[in-house]
Symmetry: C2
Subunit: 330 residues, 2 copies
């Protein structure tokens, strides 16, 4: 059975299709009598307005594309939950796009654009700035926002957690606790804009203690990659030369690193090697990890993003302050 259209309902109710439309338009000029008549006919035919047609005519889809490329990070899930819930509360729907080897940012943005989404949110994805500036993907297309990550790009505001403040807070805490030989584990081949945390951390130790940061890199942002990077480091460096605290770019890396540190090298955390993460993902709170980490104000960030999408707030980069969550690992 084909879907009923406003025209079908109009005939059923004995009115014109415009009257039918009005019955479904809040605040439209229509008498109670004909509204009732129309709604009854609509009920009989199981009519529901076609939002595709509406979107075409009104030039607004109430759809927001959300690009994600980092499904190995458990922190993404609750963040995504909050984001979708808040979008839905505003009548917006989420188009989730998985950025991977077979589906690039360019693919995704082009597709989202052609589907006339109201906004595109780059949710913590890794990309080269040129990608956005080169491809003239910008002009005429939907507004874009970078969420949970920095952005240097003109016209693409970022909604993120202030890395400078966060790293300073972590650094001060570690300093106070007496750690003196810091290491940092970055994920992936760190793209320019993703270097914030590392650069700030490095700078912190250099200016406060004049100490040089030991750096290591994981292949990706995942527990396995973090485990491998930690394994590489620990097996190459003599015990007496080891760092005494390892800051990981995110919790996923930290979990993998902690696993290796404890079960493969028999080291105690934090006594032999302290570990700090970033994100406060769910397992961090478990006694199995007890990871000291940094929590981003996800609610605030999501709200800010939505305010910008709906133009209730100026579309410009904003930074929020998170908070250090101290547990046993450092």
């Amino acid at each position: 059975m084909k879907r009923a259209t406003a025209q079908n309902v109009a005939i059923e109710a004995g009115v014109s299709k415009w009257t039918v439309i009005r019955a479904f338009t809040p605040g439209a000029s229509i008498t109670e009598a004909s509204k009732a008549k129309v709604l009854e006919a609509a009920e009989r035919l199981n009519y529901r307005p076609n939002l595709l047609a509406r979107s075409l005519a009104t030039n607004s889809t109430h759809q927001v594309a959300v690009l994600v490329d980092d499904f190995a990070n458990p922190h993404k899930l609750p963040f995504l939950e909050k984001l979708t819930a808040s979008l839905q509360a505003e009548g917006l729907v989420t188009m989730l796009i998985n950025i991977n080897q077979h589906y690039s940012h360019v693919h995704a943005i082009l597709n989202a654009d052609q589907r006339q989404v109201d906004a595109i949110v780059l949710f913590g994805t890794a990309f080269r700035d040129e990608m956005l500036t080169d491809h003239k993907l910008g002009r005429g297309g939907p507004p874009m926002f970078v969420l949970a990550r920095d952005s240097q790009i003109e016209g693409v505001p970022a909604i993120s957690c202030d890395a400078t403040v966060a790293i300073a807070e972590i650094g001060k805490y570690l300093l106070k606790k007496g750690y003196r030989r810091p290491g940092f584990m970055a994920g992936a081949r760190t793209l320019s804009t993703a270097l914030g945390r590392r650069r700030n951390f490095k700078e912190f130790w250099r200016t406060t203690l004049g100490v040089e940061l030991v750096e290591m890199s994981a292949e990706r942002y995942s527990a396995e990659a973090g485990a491998q990077a930690a394994r590489d480091y620990l097996s190459q460096v003599a015990p007496e030369d080891r760092i005494d605290v390892l800051m990981c770019e995110n919790d996923a890396l930290a979990f993998g690193a902690m696993d290796v540190v404890r079960s493969e090298f028999g080291l105690r955390v934090p006594n032999d090697l302290a570990i700090v993460g970033f994100d406060n993902a769910a397992p961090a709170a478990s006694p199995a990890y007890g990871l000291t980490t940094y929590e981003q104000p996800t609610d605030q960030m999501v709200n800010a993003a939505i305010d910008m999408i709906l133009e209730r707030a100026p579309r410009e980069t904003v930074n929020f302050q998170g908070k250090l969550v101290v547990r046993d690992s450092a």
Copy 2:
């Protein structure tokens, strides 16, 4: 700057808009000469076909709504990754809908329907069957599928992991290992269709050993809820009366339970109490948990779902076999 339309390009290229359309339709009848002319003009105007208009005309959006209600389960993330990637590989796009207190299945299905999605996937969501049968949401709307969960509903095929086989395999393993006093932790107020695992597990022990299953229920499917349920049980039952193995309906519950068992009650896993989960979520593999669990064939399930959506396979309930993943916890 407004978006260019086919009509604009037509004028720019000195042809009719239908010729422009043909230049963008693979296999359409058009000479190389005019195609080149059109593409060049299109490039100049930065033209991209409007997929909304196309969808309206062709009655097919290439959008699939995916309903999720269980963001506390870390297993959802890699599953979702696979699902979105595979859909995208087929040219389909994911509309992610978060089912929660403020946004019910009825909301979601109605909205997805009005947006003319090509299919609706209920991805492991908890609902009462009446919801689908009552609300006549079915008739005329997009085809619906239940993924990673059972479904008894006429006309709504399920793509899931065979609970009977899975539970039998787990049961046999536990029996062989010598466990004799089994417990089961269910999540949420278990809805009729979600009872499969529990019922099968209960039946297994009854028929093999004549032993009665100890049952407990968590408030939700999350580590915290699992922790609380385990806490309640352990603090109410005398040590000598305790179960010797606890099967949890999913890994999230198992993680919480294991945390409490070990750190709050000082019990050793598996010696004092063995624990088994279901899903093989990422942390299960970590030495911090080493959880014995059951892995669903997510790839097969996703592929099967997509084959049904695209009508490459008959739209009928299918069950796949997973595999037991033995680790240290049992």
